[in-house]
């Protein structure tokens, strides 16, 4: 009983935290700082519970008479839980400065953030399509609200409506797909669908194929792949930058957590069906993302557009899954790498915006290297990581994805992705060039900024993680610290837990 409860604790803690924050926000006397403290506290407790099972190989269904197989607790879900909670803590702490400077931030924001996190964690645990849909909608609706939080920005109405209408519309496809799959197989439970597919491999599965295609639509929409990428720029632009970071990194991980499970358990034997379609989608996603990223002048939009390119790399991993199960490790590692890099990059932009309120375009970053050398150095690290330059975690992640893709026999696709990487150097390095190669056009002095605060320390911590992930134990081999090998073995363990009986 107690043992089973421990498995539930992370997700329950987040839910309780969300409820408490909601009640707390009814009182005017609490300031944003108090909400940050309370929400961080709950998340740290939840993280503690999640880490409790870190490194174990397990799969269990606690209170199965209540939940009836709809949620599952295994190493895989636990891995994603840790990543999601850590990402949310990162967003809250890095955004501490930004949130306190903007008048529109209210306590409810943190309650909604935790609700959305609850939905995402549930998504990672979901073992059944309807549950997954509900979890996805809990997360999505919370994010819809947060997207429209910035009452001072005229772009927010466009952002929230675009996202809400399109998101709900695409959600209907998920339901339709579920219905079709249910019509054929008589179940919505993932492992039972897998069982059906394996035992009826010879029979007519066209309903299942259509159903999978529908579900795939939702997946592609949520990760912003072609042809569903058009919402990204406007939504990311109109949302408060913390939410942009949250959507680009944490939400994406949650989406992958469920679909990776579904692909690996269910649909892997059918991969020939979507292979051609996904290959063309990947190519176009990479091309469009690259094109959009080159043409942006606003840094936030550039980061948003480049997130489409990163989606393309992840799709490359998904394609390779059909031939090569090890590709799942590379996808998961890439998600972690992107989480760290994007968290740092978006977070740093938010920190800079909070002070000056003008730094949004490339031009506004001119001279940052002289004004605030430490921040510029950190930003450089994140840009390197996003561009996949060695000595950052982004390089190792790209190495894994490309290696597994080539190993699965998709060498041409990998070369195409490499070309996109080569171009990406242009738009990432442009920002570095702006920071260092041009004189500052503001006459303000350095002392005006207060950089010794939680936001900056947190960004610094993320930067250290980015570097550590890229170097690992290679260079400091005489100091026994956990290396990137550690992450990889955890990832491997997670995937293995999917196939435990």
């Amino acid at each position: 009983m107690i043992e089973q409860l421990v498995y539930l604790m992370p997700i329950v803690t987040v839910l309780i935290g969300a409820l408490i924050l909601m009640f707390q926000s009814m009182y005017d006397k609490y300031k944003i700082k108090d909400f940050i403290i309370v929400s961080t506290l709950f998340l740290v407790i939840a993280l503690g519970f999640a880490i409790f099972h870190f490194g174990d190989l397990f799969t269990t269904r606690p209170f199965n008479d209540i939940f009836n197989n709809v949620i599952i607790f295994d190493t895989f879900a636990n891995f994603f839980n840790i990543a999601l909670i850590a990402g949310a803590i990162g967003i809250i702490l890095i955004g501490e400065h930004y949130a306190q400077e903007q008048s529109y931030f209210k306590g409810e924001f943190y309650a909604i953030l935790l609700f959305s996190l609850f939905g995402m964690m549930l998504l990672a645990h979901a073992n059944e399509l309807i549950t997954a849909y509900i979890a996805l909608e809990i997360a999505s609706f919370s994010v819809y609200i947060m997207v429209g939080f910035n009452t001072e920005d005229s772009k927010r109405v466009e952002a929230i409506f675009k996202y809400l209408v399109l998101g709900s519309f695409i959600g209907a496809f998920f339901l339709l797909g579920t219905v079709l799959i249910y019509g054929l197989t008589g179940t919505t439970n993932i492992s039972e669908i897998a069982h059906y597919v394996n035992s009826n491999y010879e029979s007519d599965l066209s309903l299942l194929y259509i159903g999978i295609a529908m579900i795939l639509f939702t997946f592609l929409f949520k990760i912003a792949a072609f042809p569903f990428q058009s919402w990204v720029l406007d939504v990311y632009r109109g949302a408060p930058i913390l939410i942009t970071a949250y959507m680009a990194s944490v939400f994406k991980i949650a989406i992958f957590s469920f679909f990776l499970r579904a692909f690996l358990q269910d649909f892997i034997s059918l991969s020939g069906f979507w292979e051609t379609a996904l290959i063309s989608i990947t190519v176009v996603t990479l091309a469009i993302g690259t094109w959009l990223a080159i043409t942006q002048t606003i840094v936030k939009r550039m980061l948003a557009a480049s997130s489409i390119v990163h989606t393309g790399y992840l799709l490359l991993g998904i394609i390779a899954l059909g031939e090569n199960i090890a590709s799942a490790y590379s996808i998961m590692f890439y998600l972690i790498a992107y989480l760290l890099s994007a968290l740092g990059a978006f977070g740093l932009v938010s920190h800079v915006i909070a002070d000056t309120k003008v730094r949004v375009t490339y031009n506004d970053f001119k001279g940052l290297g002289q004004e605030r050398p430490y921040l510029a150095a950190l930003m450089t690290i994140f840009m390197f990581s996003l561009a996949g330059i060695p000595s950052t975690i982004g390089f190792i992640a790209k190495f894994y994805v490309f290696t597994e893709a080539i190993n699965a026999g998709y060498a041409y696709l990998a070369i195409f992705a490499i070309l996109a990487t080569a171009v990406s150097i242009y738009y990432y390095f442009k920002l570095i060039a702006m920071m260092y190669f041009y004189p500052s056009h503001a006459e303000t002095t350095e002392s005006k900024y207060n950089d010794g605060r939680i936001s900056t320390y947190m960004i610094g911590l993320v930067a250290i993680l980015v570097i550590w992930g890229g170097i690992g134990s290679a260079i400091v081999f005489f100091i026994p610290i956990p290396s990137i090998d550690g992450i990889l073995s955890v990832v491997e363990l997670s995937v293995r837990s999917l196939f435990l009986k």
Binding site: I389, P390, L488, E492
Partner: protein
Amino acid sequence: MGAADILSFIIFLPAIVAFILMISTTKVEDVRNIAFITTIIILVLVMKIYLNFEPKAEMQFVTNVPWISKYGINYNIGVDGFSLTILMLIAILIPTSFLLLWEGRTKGYWINMLLVQTGVTGTLLSLDIILFYFFWETMLLPIFLIIGIFGSGNKVFSTIKVTVYTMAGSLLMFVAIVYLGVSYYNEFGHWSFQFDDLTNLSLLTYTEKFWLFLAFVTAFAIKIPLFPFHTWITATYSDAPTGGVFLLSSIMAKLGVYAVVRFMIPIFPDVYIQFSNWFVFIGIFGLIYFGIAALMQDDIKKMFAYSSASHLSLIAAGIFSLNSYGINGALYLVIAHAIATGGLFLLVGLLHDETGFKTIKDLGGIGKKAPIFTFMFAIMLFSNVGLPSTNGFVSELLIIFGIYQFNPIMGYISGITVLIAASFMLWLFQRAILQERVGSALQMRDLKVKEIIGLVPWVILIFLMGIYPDPFIDKFEPTVTHFLDDILRIDEIIKSGAVK
């Protein structure tokens, strides 16, 4: 610290010092002094390695520890005859170049110079191909910042151009590296990116090898630069600050040559032999083409950029000449050219800083104003054109022998075209330095004692290597022989008639 750890120490000391300097608030003079002392410490350590090195073909001072064990990637470093010579070269060039760059630099400049040193030594000593790529890319980043921040003219454009150019090349190479690793995995059932292991690959088809070879050669040809991948050099060399040009021309370009010898030839011996004709041709074509282009230039930096490319083409021709004359000569020229071009670029940088001019027609009358400067300039120039008793002579002679043995006609052509280099260099010397200037005399100071001390080791090396080359060649000769006999088995192949 064991003997093997010294290499790791040599690689990472500059980076560690650079990071400490970065977060501290030290004055710029102290930063410079600390950076200089760091490079001197490294020089001493490299000396120690050089003296303890036994003239054998195999790797020595090897450190091999797992890095990413799932993919068989190791932190594997070691030194053999090839790398030792270049390591020694870098260790001498960098501290002495600091002496010539001594005044008027900022903190970021010195920090980046230190970071470059970590990048280049790491590239040189890596025996794991992923580790090699790691350092290969990392060494570009400080250069990116040096050119962009401290350059002149249209510096941002030049910086972005050179970065995207070289990165695109390296990324192609990256695909090839990954492909090699995957092939190894498919053949042997476990992952490895060790350079030794990759030479055992036997299942690659000829087409695969050809494309992989091409990907590698593109990356290295951009860095060297070989025709037709040279279009970045003029803009970059003329906009980059002196230190940046020095690093690019005299150190990084050599690493491109080194990488060809270290990685491409052992991994793709048959493609290397098959296409040697083409590459010798491209080399000699480049020698002529860049020589003529250099004749046309009025900007001294651009002229040296082309002349440097011209010499590097000769080195490439030597590398592909398939005999020990050519390869030994090419390696010798790598050293000779690094010293001579490095010196010339630093002196031209000084000239530019003092007079404000870098075009030949604006200069003149330097000889009277600054005799020691002129003397040093002349020695570097003579070494560069290969005057007898300088090291340039020995190496060019060896290469021309090598090319002649490979193909007599190409040997004649290369012998004649080396003259072009001599002609434009001496012409430049006459016009820019010796001849009286039209109009008022230029403001030009002579070399300071510090700068002379910096240049003296180079001058000694130029003559020592030119008059008594044996001890230097002895260090890398066994490796070259090992290459030709054990890896390429040139004799057998020539006997079997596969290559004319």
